[in-house]
């Protein structure tokens, strides 16, 4: 299945461009904003500007991972190919594994130019965070996958009518993920929602690292634990909706 998608991307430059376009655009907008702020004041503002750039780049990991799965699945829906795929011996978990694999590739292609741009234009080196960056990456990617399995489940349940969620659902989590500000800024009633998201713990940890603090094992532990719950729940939802689609006959008619 990954060969199928890679073959598609090989001859479709608009698809490749689409992957990197938004992360690069985001980096330009927020990068200049951060430069402007950092130029007006020093110290704390420079730290805030770094947190802003780190937030933009790391949040793109979640966004691109989520979209990578959902759009790869939608490619099958749009090409009306699901009927052939699901009568092959491909098991549902193998399909999911291929979607996750494609998501990881799409995420790398999307985020790498933005990371490079941040370094070239704003002298912001994401890798300066050290090896803990890898843990941030993995946790945000897994959270993106969990959300995307939920989106794919909705597409299985509601057909192509739910495809707009592939682009929009993750943006709805941005305010609760405390990407650009600490969780403590949020109203007390919303904080538990934020703390139930693995991403909020990752960004709290990222800010701690950028401020020169030690590795935030507490936040990382929460992120890992919540990701296990999220991905487990999303997998169950996917399995349930896949079976329901087989009961309703939706796999043949999907795309209409």
């Amino acid at each position: 299945m990954m060969y199928r998608h890679l073959s598609l991307y090989r001859r479709s430059w608009p698809r490749l461009l689409e992957m990197a376009y938004w992360p690069v655009l985001q980096m330009c907008i927020w990068g200049f904003t951060a430069s402007f702020l950092a130029g007006r004041a020093g110290g704390t503002v420079i730290l805030a500007a770094s947190a802003l750039l780190g937030g933009v780049l790391l949040w793109e990991v979640s966004l691109r991972s989520q979209m990578g799965v959902a759009i790869s699945f939608l490619e099958e829906v749009w090409s009306r190919n699901l009927g052939h795929v699901f009568v092959s011996p491909l098991r549902p978990w193998e399909l999911v594994a291929s979607l996750l694999g494609m998501s990881a590739i799409r995420m790398m292609i999307g985020v790498a130019p933005a990371v490079l741009l941040a370094w070239l234009l704003y002298a912001f080196n994401l890798f300066a965070m050290g090896p803990v960056l890898l843990l941030f990456f993995v946790n945000l990617m897994i959270m993106g996958w969990a959300v995307s399995l939920g989106v794919v489940s909705l597409i299985l349940r509601h057909g192509a009518g739910a495809e707009a969620l592939a682009w929009s659902v993750m943006f709805g989590l941005t305010p609760f993920s405390a990407v650009f500000y600490p969780v403590a800024i949020l109203p007390a009633a919303i904080r538990p929602v934020a703390l139930a998201l693995p991403s909020a713990h990752v960004f709290e940890g990222m800010r701690a690292v950028l401020a020169g603090g030690p590795t935030p094992w507490g936040h990382l532990g929460w992120a890992v634990g919540l990701n296990i719950v999220w991905i487990g729940a999303a997998s169950l939802l996917f399995a349930r909706q896949f079976h329901a689609a087989r009961v309703r006959g939706a796999l043949l008619s999907m795309g209409e």
């Binding site: 090409s79 011996p89 491909l90 087989r246």
Partner: protein, 245 residues
């Protein structure tokens, strides 16, 4: 030996009964036709055999595997073709065949694609995107896809629909040769009575989700005292009973 055994096969959608407790078998090397008007339950039956649709009741055993328990083992040894299910349009024919070759874990895949290209005259199409092919070319490519894994059971849903008579005849001739050479079993759903009469050794006639008659084409012609299956089909569709033997 039966390669397909369906017993009490039923599918309901809410209060709608799409397939109503049908029983049938397909023997190894046999070509069985599934006849019926629109909405008779042919496609629903095929979708249940392929595991795309979960039956409301009944049991399906294909190549010794109960589809409710171990459908993937059966699916690896069967295949399917329908003009209503597309292949990715932007991939070339060769890429499409490679994708499905990998999905079916076909050994020596490039050699197999070469064989199919020889047999179905696909060499000039291999590097063309599937979306740029004519209906006849798409049918040949869909057939190649359905044969990529040397299937022991082939399910064909109206394989010559929308083809001109010449291309339709070429496909039917090719299916005859392939079936004779490979000994695979074919279940063929079709609206083309001449096609069913030509290819099938047994026919199941469906109406409103039930199998209302069955037999070899000569048996059915004899029983309804008709010259061709189209007349038999019309007799059944319009509730004209068979002439008692």
């Amino acid at each position: 030996m039966n390669v397909i055994q369906a017993s009490g096969l039923t599918k309901t959608y809410g209060s709608t009964l799409a397939v109503d407790g049908i029983d049938f078998t397909v023997a190894r090397g046999e070509t069985v036709g599934l006849l019926g008007g629109n909405g008779a339950g042919k496609t629903t039956t095929i979708a249940m055999l392929l595991g795309l649709l979960v039956p409301s009741a009944g049991r399906i055993v294909i190549l010794g595997h109960d589809i409710a328990i171990s459908r993937f083992e059966a699916l690896a040894r069967m295949n399917f073709s329908s003009p209503y299910v597309a292949l990715p349009h932007r991939l070339t024919v060769a890429e499409n065949l490679r994708v499905y070759g990998h999905l079916y874990n076909v050994r020596h895949l490039e050699a197999r694609i070469g064989e199919l290209a020889d047999e179905l005259d696909l060499h000039s199409l291999l590097d063309r995107p599937a979306g740029q092919l004519s209906a006849g070319q798409k049918t040949r490519v869909a057939l190649a896809k359905s044969l990529i894994n040397h299937p022991e059971v082939l399910l064909l849903d109206e394989p010559t629909a929308s083809l001109d008579p010449d291309t339709g005849d070429l496909v039917r001739s090719w299916l005859e040769r392939y079936q004779a050479a490979s000994g695979c079993s074919i279940l063929l759903a079709s609206h083309n009575m001449a096609e069913v009469e030509r290819l099938c050794s047994n026919v199941l006639v469906m109406k409103q989700g039930r199998i209302v008659d069955r037999g070899s084409p000569p048996d059915l012609l004899d029983r309804y005292s008709r010259e061709n299956l189209e007349e038999v089909f019309l007799d059944i569709a319009r509730n004209r009973a068979a002439v008692p033997a």
